[in-house]
Structure formats: structure tokens, C-alpha cells
């Protein structure tokens, strides 16, 4: 955890005239899980797009392993170990699982692709069982796992995830969050935007709260969860109740801890 893998320094970005990021900074260390939470329109997804080179910032810098990668193209970033899973449109519905993974692996040298795809089958047995099935026919949770595997097949050091739990049933969400914990255990850093803030902070090493395009709070995941200000402004009442009971009593959506 000593080396910063990814550093974002005072980034500003806008869509046309609308200024969305007004000087945001963030650091992710090797193997760390970082959660980004905050109100709608705070700039969370935009920050991921800037990091992954999908949107060029108007000011500020993005460093990957101390190299300035601001404005470097996404496919180039994927080659050097950074990959991204958007919230929507993250698999090819008309292709099979096997084809999706193969397409995902094209940034690797030709000779390594098959092996990399097979690694994914080992890590995602659920996908291995269905490798000939079209992605469009998968359930929400399975499809999200495929999207994550499609990014992992490039053997990244860091994974950027935009709302991995959105639209998933409780069971499917468990499946995805458990898988993310495994990914992190394999030493891959994760920077994840989530609206299920309570769940995300519980899983994260550290969290950032963005508000109106600026850093509002940051800290360890568990201390942000206990911070009354963060709770009041960003987590809401119902989540207070469930996070305080998550270690003892059963509650609707909380996993065993």
C-alpha cells in the first residue's frame, strides 16, 4: 500500500459550458479498494471518464505509477494496466460469453489471449459453465460479472467501476460485491463509484465523497460510515439503521460481516 498507483491532482472538466469537476484530487494505492460516493451530478462518473481518457480535463493531471497519463487514450491505458467497466453497455449482448472475453483480450499479445480467457473461467466458474451462451440472455448479476471479467482479462493493476450494483437484485448484488472482494484480494486496485454508499464504504479501504464537482470528505471507509455529517448528507436515514445493525442483527440487504 505504499506506492501510489493512481493519482488525480486538481482535475477540472466540463461538458460544453457545464463545469462538472472543479478541482478534484484522489489517490489509489496498489491493491487498494477506493469508493467514490456523493449526490447525483457530483461528478463521480465524470471523474472515472477523465481517469480513463474518455474526457480530456481542462486543468489538472492524472498520474499512473508516477507517469503523467492525462489525456492518454483508453486503449493505451488498458495496455499499461488500467481498465474500466461502464455502468451500461459493458458487454456485447449478441456475442457469447467466450466471444466477449476474447474481444476483451485483444490488447494482450496474440499468444497470451487464450490463456488469459481461461484464467477468467477459473476465476468465474459461473461464466465457464455458460461460455457458449449469448451475453444478452444472461441475468443482471451474471451480465455484470461478465463485464468485470471482460475488464480483468487484460490483467489490469487497477480497475475503474461505475456503479457495479445498479439495478441488481439483492442476490445478484451479493454475487458482484463478493467477487469484487476476491478481485481486491488478488492485489488488483479498484476505484469504484457507487450509490449503494453504505455497502461500498463497508467494502472499501478508503472512500471519497464528492459534492458539486469538489472533494467534500475523504477517509477510511469505516470512519466515513460512522461520520454523522457524511451519514446525514449522503447516506440517508434508512442506511443509518441498516449499517448500525449489520454486525449484529439481520437487516434487509446487509451481508454477513
Amino acid at each position: 500500500m505504499s506506492e501510489p498507483l493512481l493519482e488525480v491532482n486538481d482535475v477540472e472538466a466540463s461538458y460544453g459550458e457545464a463545469l462538472v469537476l472543479r478541482g478534484v484530487s484522489l489517490t489509489a494505492f496498489e491493491g487498494e479498494l477506493v469508493a467514490i460516493i456523493g449526490p447525483n451530478g457530483a461528478g463521480k462518473s465524470t471523474l472515472l471518464k477523465v481517469i480513463y481518457g474518455l474526457l480530456r480535463p481542462t486543468a489538472g493531471r492524472v498520474l499512473y505509477r508516477r507517469d503523467d497519463v492525462t489525456g492518454v487514450r483508453p486503449e493505451q491505458l488498458t495496455r499499461i494496466g488500467l481498465n474500466y467497466v461502464p455502468q451500461l453497455g459493458n458487454v456485447f449482448p449478441s456475442l457469447s460469453i467466450a466471444e466477449n472475453l476474447l474481444v476483451g483480450s485483444v490488447s494482450l499479445p496474440r499468444t497470451e489471449r487464450r490463456h488469459a480467457v481461461n484464467e477468467m473461467y477459473t476465476q468465474f466458474p459461473l461464466l465457464a459453465e455458460r461460455r457458449r451462451q449469448r451475453a444478452g440472455t444472461l441475468s443482471g448479476g451474471q451480465r455484470k460479472l461478465l463485464a468485470i471479467a471482460r475488464a480483468l482479462v487484460t490483467r489490469p493493476h487497477a480497475l475503474l467501476l461505475d456503479e457495479p450494483s445498479a439495478g441488481l437484485s439483492p442476490q445478484a448484488m451479493e454475487l458482484v460485491f463478493n467477487k469484487l472482494a476476491e478481485v481486491k484480494d488478488r492485489g488488483i486496485a479498484i476505484v469504484m463509484v457507487e450509490q449503494n454508499a453504505t455497502r461500498a464504504l463497508a467494502l472499501a479501504d478508503r472512500g471519497y465523497v464528492l459534492d458539486m464537482g469538489s472533494n467534500a470528505y475523504e477517509g477510511r471507509g469505516d470512519s466515513l460510515l460512522r461520520d454523522p455529517k457524511v451519514t446525514e448528507l449522503y447516506l440517508g436515514r434508512s442506511t443509518i439503521a441498516s449499517s448500525s445493525t449489520s454486525t449484529s442483527a439481520p437487516s434487509g440487504i446487509n451481508p454477513p460481516t
Binding site: 460516493i37 449526490p39 447525483n40 451530478g41 443482471g140 441488481l168 439481520p250
Partner: protein, 257 residues
């Protein structure tokens, strides 16, 4: 209590897959009814059938005692049954305010004779509509973006805009497809309170698809559970949560312990 919506033996298939398979249920007038079930259970397909975007192959749907299962979506909406979409339909090249204003109904200025014969009336109505739209934008925390193109809004904000637009139409039955997915929990909490207030003050009925069980437990007075196209359980929230079939099909370990 009377049923504002009656769904009877509805069947809708895609190719060989029966997405909705003989589904029947009632939605009581003035209730807040949740529709839950795993991804792929047929919830959104059912919403599409009820709102006229898809036709039912069999069965019937009645709204306020009249059949609507052969009616066009806009006619159903004019009768007072309005819906949101899981992925919001935003008019990106219109302002945020105009996106809400287009939903206002019974506007005298829409008709030439209304405008010509009663111009004062049309102006008054226009002013009232603007005030209502402004109130809704404030409630959904979009007031700061009222004059901007809706295209600059984030995914979560578009969801909120969709929600505001539906309320602007002053419907009697509102169908919400995952209204809280991608919405910050603190704001989500306020929206739930607003929905509860609307129900009390205006008698508006809500049918919503939601995966977050804390929200379902808090907001709904009736829950319908679907799995593989069928209604497998229905009842009060606590009753349904304890139902073994629901636990098996949907909650899994997340809700069972």
C-alpha cells in the same frame, strides 16, 4: 378499497421465452405497491404491457374499471396512468425546465381556439405550470440546472428528471421502474417522504419496481413478488419477506439470515 389497476392472466413471450407468464394481481387505489423479483423475472415487461408499450398476447389489464390492454401508450397516459423508465428517456436538446413542462396536461394554449378565445386563461395556466415545474425541480435538486440542456445531466439526475416529469403530469397511477437505482440515498429518502405525502394529500397510487429492500419495507404497504414471469407471492411487506418461496427465489442469503 377498490382496485385502480387489475392485471388478469397476462401472457407476453419473446420468441420461446415467456417473459410474463399468466400474471394476475390488483393494485389498490391510494396504495404504494412494490413489485419485486430477480433480474429477468418479467417486471419491466409487465410495466411495458400495462403502460401500452407492449401488447399482451393473452389476458387483460383494467385501469379504473376500463380495459387498457389494447390502448396506445399516450392514450393510457392521458387517462392518468404514467410511467418512468429504468433507463430514463431524456429530451437532451431541451432545457431541464422544458423537459418537465412538456408533461403538463390540459393546457389551453395547446389548442388554437383555447389560445385565441381565452388568452388570459392560457397565460394563467402557463404561469401555474411554470411554478409547479420549478417546485418539482427544487424537490429533485435540479433547480440549479433548470436552464441548461438536459443532455448535460448525469445518469442519476436524468432519473430524477424523469420522476419529476411524471409527477408534473398529475397522474392518478404512477409506475416507477427502479426509481432509486443510481439515486443518492440521502435524496432517495426525501423522495420517499414526498411520495408518501403525495399519496396522503392527493390519493395518488404508486406501483414501483425496486431492488433495495429497505426502501420496499419502508415505503410500501403491499408487495407483489414475481419470478420467471409469474406472481409467486403477494401481501404486506413483512409477510412477504418471511415467505420461504420469496427467500429462495429472490433474497437468498442476503435476506434470509
Amino acid at each position: 378499497m377498490t382496485a385502480i389497476l387489475e392485471v388478469r392472466e397476462v401472457v407476453r413471450a419473446f420468441g420461446g421465452l415467456r417473459a410474463v407468464d399468466d400474471a394476475s394481481f390488483d393494485v389498490e387505489t391510494g396504495s404504494i405497491t412494490a413489485l419485486i423479483g430477480p433480474n429477468g423475472a418479467g417486471k419491466s415487461t409487465l410495466f411495458n404491457v400495462i403502460s401500452g408499450f407492449l401488447s399482451a398476447e393473452r389476458g387483460r389489464v383494467q385501469f379504473e374499471g376500463r380495459r387498457i390492454d389494447r390502448a396506445q401508450p399516450h392514450r393510457i397516459a392521458r387517462r392518468g396512468l404514467v410511467r418512468t423508465f429504468q433507463v430514463p428517456r431524456t429530451l437532451t436538446r431541451m432545457s431541464v425546465l422544458d423537459n418537465v413542462l412538456v408533461a403538463a396536461t390540459r393546457h389551453p394554449g395547446e389548442r388554437l381556439n383555447g389560445l385565441a378565445l381565452r388568452p388570459g386563461d392560457a397565460r394563467r395556466r402557463e404561469r401555474t405550470a411554470r411554478e409547479r415545474a420549478a417546485e418539482l425541480l427544487t424537490l429533485f435538486r435540479l433547480d440549479g440546472h433548470a436552464g441548461e440542456y438536459a443532455g448535460v445531466l448525469s445518469g442519476g439526475q436524468r432519473k430524477l428528471l424523469d420522476f419529476a416529469r411524471v409527477l408534473m403530469a398529475e397522474p392518478r397511477l404512477v409506475l416507477l421502474d427502479e426509481p432509486m437505482a443510481g439515486v443518492n440515498p440521502a435524496l432517495g429518502q426525501q423522495l420517499i417522504e414526498h411520495v408518501l405525502r403525495l399519496r396522503t394529500e392527493t390519493g395518488m397510487t404508486f406501483l414501483f419496481v425496486e431492488h433495495d429492500l429497505d426502501i420496499v419495507m419502508e415505503a410500501s404497504d403491499h408487495v407483489i413478488v414475481m419470478n420467471e414471469g409469474r406472481v409467486i407471492a403477494s401481501g404486506g411487506p413483512e409477510e412477504v419477506r418471511g415467505d420461504q418461496r420469496v427467500v429462495d427465489a429472490y433474497l437468498g442469503t442476503a435476506g434470509a439470515q
